[in-house]
């Protein structure tokens, strides 16, 4: 059930829709996200405002589309940065071994023990809230899962006969890393990247919700939720909508990531050796 292509298509479709809508928000949004109309405060969903208005009479749908940019860009940037850094460090660790591997692995252990949220609070306290401290906060601890995965996989692949053969045959290290090792890592790492993107999206929202992320007048999904909370009883759509978007997007990427990770791991398990050696004529 979880693996039906229908679900994959639905998840992909939703993601594409959200990304396109957010990217095109200046042109497709029904009104300006900052335009206040104090006469039309906390309206329920209706024909003029599809998702109602907030406590300053701003159109919720327009703010949702506008706010998505911040959340999605930071989460994507953090995923890309941590993915590249983590994979690089992981593969380096596995290839070089020795003291470098030891140092990198210990660093990884140390960072893994630090609670992500506390590190973020710490960095925001030091650097002040904003775009840079958010990306930094996510990156400082965020590369560790990639490095662990990449190191473990690269270690395994390096011990496989075809990599050792390539070494004996005199293939260059570049060839071994880029043609043999990285292709075998791509599937699981992409899966991991999707999972991490979902988590980054949630964390960005959390920091903004706490007022430590995006600063007014700019807003994102987390800060919209925080702003709507005092009026939750009168206008529940204000907290329902942004949370639902975060949840849906995170759910879709998580689902796709898990599928990707599972697919690539079964492909790795499917060793042709188990399919039975046939005597040749």
């Amino acid at each position: 059930m979880r693996d039906r292509p229908v679900f994959v298509r639905a998840a992909t479709g939703i993601l594409v829709l959200v990304v396109v809508a957010v990217a095109a928000s200046p042109w497709i949004a029904p009104s300006s996200p900052a335009e206040q109309d104090l006469a039309a405060r906390l309206l329920p969903p209706g024909s003029a405002h599809w998702l109602g208005t907030d406590h300053l009479g701003r159109d919720t749908l327009s703010r949702l589309l506008d706010g998505g940019r911040f959340s999605l860009v930071i989460a994507s940037l953090a995923t890309l940065l941590t993915g590249v850094i983590g994979t690089g460090i992981g593969v380096l660790s596995a290839r070089r071994r020795g003291w470098l591997d030891e140092v990198l692995t210990r660093t990884n252990d140390v960072l893994l023990a630090l609670p992500e949220m506390v590190v973020a609070l710490f960095l925001v306290a030091v650097l002040g809230p904003g775009f840079l401290s958010l990306v930094l906060a996510l990156t400082v601890t965020g590369w560790t899962p990639f490095a662990r995965l990449a190191r473990a996989l690269a270690y395994d692949v390096s011990a496989r006969g075809f990599v050792e053969s390539a070494r004996v045959l005199g293939c260059s290290t570049t060839f071994i890393v880029f043609r043999h090792i990285l292709p075998h890592l791509a599937g699981p790492l992409l899966g991991q990247a999707a999972l991490r993107f979902g988590q980054f999206l949630i964390t960005v929202g959390a920091l903004s919700y706490l007022g430590l992320g995006v600063q007014p007048p700019q807003s994102d999904w987390g800060s919209m939720l925080a702003a709507a909370q005092p009026y939750a009883a009168r206008a529940p759509v204000g907290i329902l909508a942004p949370g639902l978007v975060v949840f849906t997007v995170a759910l879709c990427v998580t689902f796709l990531g898990q599928r990707l990770a599972r697919m690539s791991s079964t492909r790795m398990v499917l060793n042709p050796a188990s399919s039975g050696a046939v005597a040749d004529a």
Binding site: G161, S165, V168, L169, R179, H184, A277, V278
Partner: protein, 554 residues
């Protein structure tokens, strides 16, 4: 007196989960199922040793699992009877079967270590059948467990009872498994390739242990194996199985002397690698690789580790086939890895005297190449074979892609393959084809030395023979020096001019092949040669035929 095990017209098939379950009373093969066993008949009388022989995938293991009523899900018993001393196991209830399993029938496996729960001690495993089938608990069960462990030859049964499975060696684990199988005082032992993963010394010991039970207690033995030579000295009767059918059966002597089916002949051929050549080694030939007192030790969790390779000095002469013989863990593979430079020695020097690229750290360089044991693992499953073969040539910038293509086709044809294969992926080839391709890939670099690390051990016996003959041809045509690393005495004897015997990382004997096999000097070599079960042809005359037991069957 019970009649022993009698299986008649056993039909078993595999059904994909989509195929409707429940309609499982159909005849042979079942409806839409893929037949695994088709009408198997066999009988094991008390005190009889029956060998069930066949290639992998012929249905041997499924026969054993049917007897125990433990077929995997999706595999169904479609028909036939399985009787053990009057009980119909095919129709018995689960509670009845639970009394039979481990009680009246003991089971042995190919991989004993995996058959123990890794988190429990051997003693705790033994107490299970003692309680279930013998009603023993507490101290009495503990005492009986120690007795059993002593019976199967543990000098320190107390240590073994407290040990976790990972602390046991392969041979010890199999002994412990025998103790476990005997705990319920079975009348029948099902032994599923229990010695295939062991070297010849341990194989002999385990077989003796099993045979002792047969002699002393009249236990019937159904011994499943793919290796005719192994059991020829013990079996009363041999049954040969091929794709779910019994293709031949009869007294061991008859089957081995006058095989009827093609399958039996192929198995016999494979078992008999007759030493074909007795060409003396060319003592005057110059050495191509010289090992000077090399030692390699691997760090192991804080413990003082015995070196994997301990002060080995050895030279390989030009145009020679050097056999390296040793049990698992003797340092054979480490030696190979040291020579090609995959590992660096802690001390000592390896010199390659031919290539200009030889230096003190290893003879690595294109003139020494290595063929690994597992051909499937030697190719990147995601890379086309052509790319895999071309990769090492890319570093030589003086060739065009058309020249490389020609070279590859030439060499692939030389190893007896169709170049059309190259456009496929490794998963589409058989083990034998892939091993030929690894040889071809090595030859592309024009090596003078080829090291084969158990290169044919993962292949079935028939393919093994063809690959060995290919290596001999290459040796002759290209004046290639070969290092044949193996635990298999027949392979070593078939191929080598000289043999180096490794034991616990040390070189204990280096001799001309025939000298070693006729008059081994070192204690360990003697043991190895003595334990090698007599060749099929040799034992046929001496084979005991307890015909009266066979005739005693109803």
């Amino acid at each position: 007196m019970p009649e022993g095990l009698v299986v008649e017209h056993l039909h078993v098939s595999h059904r994909a989960p989509e195929a409707a379950p429940g309609s499982g009373t159909g005849s042979a093969g079942g409806r839409g199922g893929h037949p695994i066993l088709s009408g198997v008949d066999l009988a094991v009388a008390p005190g009889e040793f029956v060998a069930l022989v066949g290639a992998s995938g012929s249905g041997k293991t499924m026969t054993a699992m049917s007897v125990l009523g433990l077929l995997p899900p999706q595999v169904h018993l479609d028909g036939g009877t399985i009787r053990l001393g009057g009980t119909d196991l095919a129709r018995a209830r689960e509670t009845e079967l639970n009394r039979v399993r481990g009680g009246r029938i003991g089971m042995l496996y190919q991989q004993p270590k995996r058959m123990f729960n890794p988190r429990r001690t051997v003693g705790s495993h033994l107490r299970e059948p003692l309680k279930l089938h013998g009603g023993l608990r507490g101290a009495r069960a503990g005492a009986r467990a120690l007795e059993l462990l002593a019976e199967v030859g543990f000098e320190d049964p107390r240590w073994c009872a407290r040990a976790h499975p990972h602390q046991l060696s392969g041979g010890m684990a199999q002994r412990a498994m025998v103790a476990l199988a005997l705990a319920g005082r079975p009348e029948l032992l099902l032994a599923d390739e229990p010695t295939s993963a062991l070297d010849t010394v341990l194989e002999r010991q385990i077989l003796e242990l099993i045979d002792r039970e047969r002699r002393d207690r009249g236990v019937g033995i159904l011994y499943i194996t793919h290796n005719l030579a192994t059991v020829s000295a013990y079996a009363d009767r041999v049954m040969v199985m091929d794709t779910g059918h019994i293709v031949e059966s009869g007294p061991a002597g008859a089957v081995l002397n006058a095989p009827q089916s093609a399958c039996t002949k192929a198995l016999l051929d494979a078992a008999a690698l007759n030493p074909a050549r007795t060409a003396p080694s060319a003592t005057e030939a110059r050495p191509v690789v010289v090992l000077d007192s090399i030692t390699k030790r691997f760090p192991s969790n804080g413990r003082e580790a015995r070196p994997a390779v301990d002060q080995v000095s050895l030279d390989l002469r030009e145009g020679e086939i050097l056999g390296v013989l040793g049990q698992s863990g003797s340092g054979k593979s480490t030696l190979a890895r040291l020579i090609v430079g995959l590992e660096t020695p802690d001390s000592g020097r390896i010199t390659g005297t031919l290539g200009a690229d030889a230096d003190g750290t290893g003879a690595a360089g294109s003139h020494v190449q290595l063929v690994f044991q597992d051909p499937h693992d030697s190719f990147d499953p995601r890379m086309r074979l052509r790319t895999s073969l071309e990769a090492p040539l890319l570093r030589r910038r003086d060739t065009t892609s058309e020249q490389r293509r020609m070279r590859i086709h030439e060499v692939v044809q030389e190893v007896g393959l169709d170049p059309g294969l190259l456009d496929g992926f490794p998963g589409q080839c058989s083990g034998g084809q892939l091993q030929r391709l690894t040889i071809a890939r090595a030859l592309l670099l024009e090596p003078t030395v080829l090291i084969c690390d158990e290169a044919t051990s993962a292949l079935d016996a028939v393919t093994q023979r063809t690959v060995l003959d290919l290596l001999l041809r290459l040796h002759r045509n290209r004046r290639l020096s070969l290092v044949m690393i193996s635990h298999d005495l027949s392979v070593i004897r078939y191929m080598s001019h000289r043999v180096a015997v490794l034991f616990q990382g040390r070189l204990v004997e280096l001799a001309e092949t025939e000298d070693l096999f006729t008059g081994p000097r070192h204690e360990h070599s003697k043991q190895l040669v003595a334990a090698a079960l007599p060749r099929v042809c040799a034992i046929l005359d001496a084979h005991r035929l307890p015909q009266e037991q066979v005739d005693a069957l109803p």
